[in-house]
């Protein structure tokens, strides 16, 4: 559905997106991760036809993004970072406006409006102006507006930035439903847990796409699981103190805090007992150690460290 090769965007001397290539299959949820300023928004804007690529090419539904944007526009929906709405219009008027913008009218327009109101549960707010809505409701309305014309591909730029956890959960439930109805979704985020839900993920770091693929495949990559190593989860008191001492232990390659526990990448020869001994020497007597599979975060840490080296 989306296919780009060597897509590059330069702003003067700054390269915002550097030779990015990837494919997104129809009906999949593609999650693009990366820190702020890594080029996520620039990439999404190029795909939506808002920015001209400096080099490279991209296709959406078989149409070239630089030359055939007129054919692409009716097929795609776009929800920008700020949930831009017309504040002085009511919820219903916003929906109708976006429908008309895509050429809907008459019964089809009214029908679509009703569907979107039901989908986003906007019934209580229909006659209220968009300016009075809170963050979560603004986001729902913005999404409903972007869906009025039934796009085949929906681009969402950080759709969960600044909204509460319940609204976040509900948004993802909706995205899964759209995907099972046949829509292709392209989502940018910097939440790892959201990335875990995507059918495909890409990680963009310093303008380059470092890695891209199925989360399970990525976790099985040799670069993530170097031969002769294992990943351990260590749960103990005083995690930060524990981290300091464990890091000094020979054979420990990386150690990162994860809430109440730490994730270690250690060489196969490092025994659980040696870790316990080290912790006990630092005054930590209770420690629960178990082997774990790598998380997506581990994947991205491993791969972006490799990319930097």
């Amino acid at each position: 559905m989306i296919d780009c090769a060597g897509l590059t965007k330069k702003f003067g001397g700054l390269t915002a997106v550097d030779q990015v290539s990837f494919q997104v299959q129809r009906r999949s949820i593609f999650g693009l991760l990366g820190p702020n300023g890594s080029g996520k928004t620039t990439l999404i804007r190029m795909l939506c036809g808002l920015l001209e690529p400096t080099a490279g090419a991209g296709r959406i539904a078989g149409y070239d993004i630089a030359r055939e944007s007129d054919r692409i526009k009716p097929l795609i929906g776009y929800m920008s970072q700020k949930f831009s709405l017309y504040d002085e219009l009511t919820v219903e008027e916003n929906l109708l406006f976006y429908g008309r913008l895509y050429g809907l009218h008459g019964a089809a327009l009214r029908h679509r409006r009703d569907d979107m109101i039901a989908l986003a549960h906007l019934e209580p707010f229909l006659t209220q102006r968009a300016e009075v809505l809170s963050g979560g409701w603004r986001q729902r309305l913005a999404m409903a507006c972007a869906l009025m014309h039934q796009p085949q591909v929906l681009f969402l730029d950080e759709p969960t930035a600044g909204i509460d956890p319940v609204a976040r959960r509900e948004l993802w439930d909706m995205l899964f439903r759209f995907s099972s109805d046949g829509m292709t979704l392209f989502v940018t985020t910097h939440y790892m847990d959201e990335a875990e839900r995507c059918s495909h993920v890409g990680y963009i770091f310093l303008s380059k796409l470092v890695v891209c693929g199925d989360p399970d495949d990525l976790k099985a990559l040799p670069a993530v699981n170097p031969p002769g190593t294992k990943r351990l989860d260590v749960t103990c008191d005083h995690v930060t103190t524990g981290l300091q001492v464990v890091r000094r232990l020979p054979g420990v390659r990386t150690a990162t805090v994860f809430g109440q526990s730490m994730h270690l990448l250690v060489e196969a020869g490092v025994s659980e007992q040696s870790i316990r001994d080290t912790l006990r020497a630092a005054g930590i007597h209770e420690a629960d150690i178990r082997p774990i599979a790598p998380s997506l975060e581990d994947v991205f840490v491993a791969l972006s460290a490799g990319g930097r080296a």
């Binding site: 939506c48 526009k73 776009y78 831009s84 504040d87 219009l89 008027e93 976006y98 913008l101 050429g103």
Partner: protein, 372 residues
């Protein structure tokens, strides 16, 4: 593909948005109303009843007649009588009177003896309008008096040369009749250009422009949808202003309402297109504001609104020929005061229409459907 795609959606949305946005409406309607009323009443160059101080050293029937002659012109009213020349000069210096009249003690004697009788008039020249009027009136009185005496002496009953002026159009030479059409032009200009200039730049600032750009809307549809609502509001305002002209300032409208309508429509079209052009160029509302001011200021001075264009240095005259206001003011003076038929002004109308069409096409053609 439909070249006006998205026009209807933008049109309906923009109408709703403009009518809901009380602040914008207020700033569209209020300043022009204040402007027309302030200018109409205050910009009256027919100076009447200027304060005059009199130092009459003669105190005869003749000297009193002379003072009466000053008052009878309605240009002056006597506010104070003084008893020394210093006092007279002090009143002028302090700005308490516009002029001081000194009649010397030998005024009547000289007059009767047929000698040259002199009176002195002190005029405050710091305001050129009032000073000029005071000077003209004083000279006029002296001339009339002299003429009457000369005619009496020679026995002639009429003047050797007589000019019989007949002022066509605006016969009372009232200043409001001359100014208010120009005020309508500037008021429409401020309201229309400012509000339209914000139309697209506001969407850019809010981020909604991105949503428009990813949609299949056409450039012409977007621009026309933005233009038409403001054009309607500007025409409504023009109607208000003409009503004020007619029924508040009592300026008779000699020409046809149809001519006024066509002229105003073409003028507001040119203005709105100009505003739209600013809006597509500016990065934010502040920049749009500054760009509008840059266009607006020269138009106040060079359009012939206050100073006649014909006496301007060529560079200012050249500037005036590219200002829509210049043509609108000439049209309005023609239609309102002289009752000129619209066909006699076809050239002005064509120029306004071409300006509007060029600005509008520039908006649509040069508007990039991209960010950055």
């Amino acid at each position: 593909m439909n070249p006006l795609r998205g026009f209807q959606a933008i049109l309906r949305k923009e109408f709703l948005a403009v009518l809901r946005d009380r602040t914008t409406l207020f700033f569209m309607f209020f300043p022009p109303l204040v402007q027309i009323i302030a200018f109409g009443f205050a910009l009256d160059t027919d100076v009447k009843h200027m304060a005059l101080a009199v130092y009459d050293e003669d105190r005869t029937a003749e000297s009193r007649q002379l003072v009466d002659a000053f008052v009878n012109t309605q240009t002056f009213r006597v506010v104070q009588r003084v008893h020394s020349l210093d006092e007279l000069a002090a009143l002028v210096r302090r700005g308490q009177v516009y002029a001081g009249l000194q009649i010397p003690p030998d005024f009547t004697r000289c007059l009767r003896a047929g000698r040259n009788a002199q009176v002195q008039v002190l005029i405050d020249g710091s305001n050129s309008t009032t000073a000029l009027q005071a000077l003209n009136t004083a000279m006029n009185i002296a001339f009339r008096r002299s003429l009457a005496l000369l005619l009496e002496a020679t026995g002639r009953r009429d003047l050797p040369v007589e000019v019989r002026p007949q002022v066509l159009y605006n016969p009372s030479l009232r200043a409001p009749n001359f100014f208010v059409p120009g005020v309508i032009g500037t008021a429409l200009q401020i309201a229309t250009v400012f509000s339209v200039a914000m139309a697209i730049v506001r969407e850019r600032e809010r981020g909604t422009l991105e949503n428009l750009l990813v949609s299949p809307i056409s450039r012409w549809g977007l621009m026309l949808g933005k233009l038409v609502p403001y054009l309607c509001i500007a025409m409504t305002m023009a109607l208000f202003l003409f009503a004020i002209l007619r029924w508040v300032f009592m300026v008779p409208i000699a020409g046809s309402p149809g001519a006024l309508f066509v002229a105003s429509l073409l003028y507001t079209f040119a203005l709105a297109s100009l505003g739209l052009l600013v809006s597509t160029r500016a990065a934010n509302q502040n920049q749009a504001f500054q760009m509008v001011m840059t266009i607006m200021l020269p138009s106040i001075f060079f359009s012939g609104f206050i100073f006649p264009r014909e006496t301007m240095p060529w560079i200012f005259y050249a500037i005036s020929t590219v200002l829509p206001l210049t043509y609108f003011i000439e049209l309005m003076r023609g239609i309102i005061l002289r009752g000129t038929a619209i066909t006699e002004f076809w050239r002005h109308l064509v120029i306004l229409a071409v300006m509007g069409a060029v600005f509008f096409s520039l908006c649509a053609l040069r508007f990039k459907k991209k960010l950055g």
